[in-house]
């Protein structure tokens, strides 16, 4: 009986301590809330600054036609201001990792997020295979440059985005809509031809 009473008292004490801690926590969290205070500037000045900032941000957005690539949905959108002119199914980076068994190099096959621009437009592009393309296939990396050249695998057209990344055609049309590439954006040849004919060099490409 005395034992039970003791246990009850201990439980009650723990409960009271817990409630006290909760109350202190609530008080601490609430006490740090602060109201937003107005600056010394007049409301008129703030309003003018607000309008100016909106204009400055709007001025940063791409002018004319631009491309937006959604790597999660594997979609490419041709856009002008806020209007979508065309939507295309593409393939983007697989996110896989490749280690070089002979060295300390590692490649992560992500399509890079952020803003890029089309640096060069190419017809009948030729692929200069990088080291990872040989290592991935378990082959030795060739010493001669001409052994790296492969024709026909990039489709009929390509846009160079810099750093080895391209938007290009594909032989593997059944993989469109999936994340399978080494970072490039693959597009079906028919869609790519249409985009190629409308998009100039310098076009902004936003990838997310």
């Amino acid at each position: 009986m005395i034992m039970r009473k003791k246990i009850l008292i201990i439980l009650l004490a723990i409960f009271i301590i817990f409630l006290t801690l909760e109350a202190v926590g609530f008080y601490l969290a609430g006490s740090r809330a602060s109201a937003v205070s107005l600056k010394a500037d007049s409301v008129k000045n703030i309003h003018a600054r607000n309008v100016n900032l909106k204009k400055r941000i709007a001025a940063l957005s791409p002018k004319g036609t631009y491309l937006v690539i959604d790597t999660a949905k594997n979609r490419l959108y041709v856009k002008q201001e806020n209007n979508t002119l065309k939507e295309v199914i593409v393939s983007t980076g697989s996110g896989s990792i490749l280690d070089d068994p002979k060295g300390n190099r590692q490649w992560i096959f992500d399509t890079p997020r952020g803003e890029r621009s089309i640096q060069v437009k190419k017809t009948n592009p030729v692929w200069t295979k990088p080291d990872w393309a040989f290592i991935e296939e378990g082959e030795d990396v060739p010493k001669s440059f001409k052994d790296r050249i492969e024709e026909g695998v990039l489709g009929d057209y390509a846009f160079d985005l810099g750093d080895g990344y391209m938007i290009h055609g594909t032989l593997y049309t059944r993989l469109l809509g999936r994340n399978v590439t080494h970072g490039c954006v693959r597009v079906g040849d028919k869609d790519l031809k249409e985009i190629y004919n409308t998009i100039p060099v310098g076009t902004k490409v936003i990838i997310f």
């Binding site: 801690l21 900032l53 896989s96 490749l98």
Partner: protein
């Protein structure tokens, strides 16, 4: 005399209500201006960034000021110190259950497969790929921002068990926050915890696009 007193009282009330409305509007403009100042810094860079707009209950994915994606926050809980409008680094994202893992390419396996594909064919659309896709992303996870700010994201539950889990999670959230606040106060660290409920695909999309050490904005006016 009574009529005069009543008129004066009405005028006083009208003036105070108008003054309060003007003041609220002014505070609103100040807050929005701070948001724009923070956004301008990010919009100048060739990056993508998120704005967690707790006022409008929306998450925006933007670049150069353009809205790339707009996601609705279905429910929102806030705990702790107010968050200043500024660009903040997202330091770490951690999934509650299972972190997505990148596939490692095995060159020897590729060589074997190449030999096999000369004799076998695959039906289009019926294949699995070794890659990270949106469906592999977690829908329940936590984002840690600099300045002791934590945003937990979870999907809106529809079934009985989801609702039960959410109810338990809510209870746990309110019980644990005060204790964590005390623990951080003892260590002289600031602490803010935000819980956002989004639809499942949006929750996965944020995990997909939000990169560690990227700069983003939390707008809590």
């Amino acid at each position: 005399m009574k009529i005069l007193s009543c008129t004066l009282l009405i005028i006083l009330l009208a003036v105070s209500v108008t003054a309060s409305a003007i003041s609220e509007k002014a505070v609103g403009i100040v807050n929005e201006t701070r948001l724009l100042e923070a956004e301008l810094k990010l919009a100048k860079k060739p990056i993508i960034y998120f704005i967690f707009n707790l006022k409008d209950k929306k998450v925006f994915l933007k670049s150069r000021g353009l809205i790339l994606k707009e996601m609705k926050i279905e429910d929102l809980k806030f705990w702790g110190e107010p968050v200043d409008v500024a660009s903040r680094s997202m330091l770490k994202k951690s999934a509650l259950f299972k972190e997505p893992r990148r596939e490692k390419i095995d060159p020897n396996k590729n060589k074997e497969e190449e030999a096999e594909t000369t004799t076998t064919t695959t039906t289009p659309g019926t294949f699995d790929i070794e890659a990270l896709e949106l469906k592999d992303m977690p829908a329940t996870y936590r984002l840690e921002f600099e300045g002791g700010i934590f945003i937990s994201i979870g999907p809106a539950g529809t079934g009985f068990f989801s609702k039960l889990y959410n109810a338990g999670s809510n209870l746990g959230w309110y019980i644990s926050r005060p204790l964590i606040t005390i623990w951080n106060s003892v260590r002289s660290r600031s602490y803010t915890s935000i819980y956002l409920t989004l639809n499942e695909e949006d929750a996965r999309s944020i995990y997909w696009s939000l990169v560690e050490n990227s700069e983003n904005i939390i707008y809590q006016p």
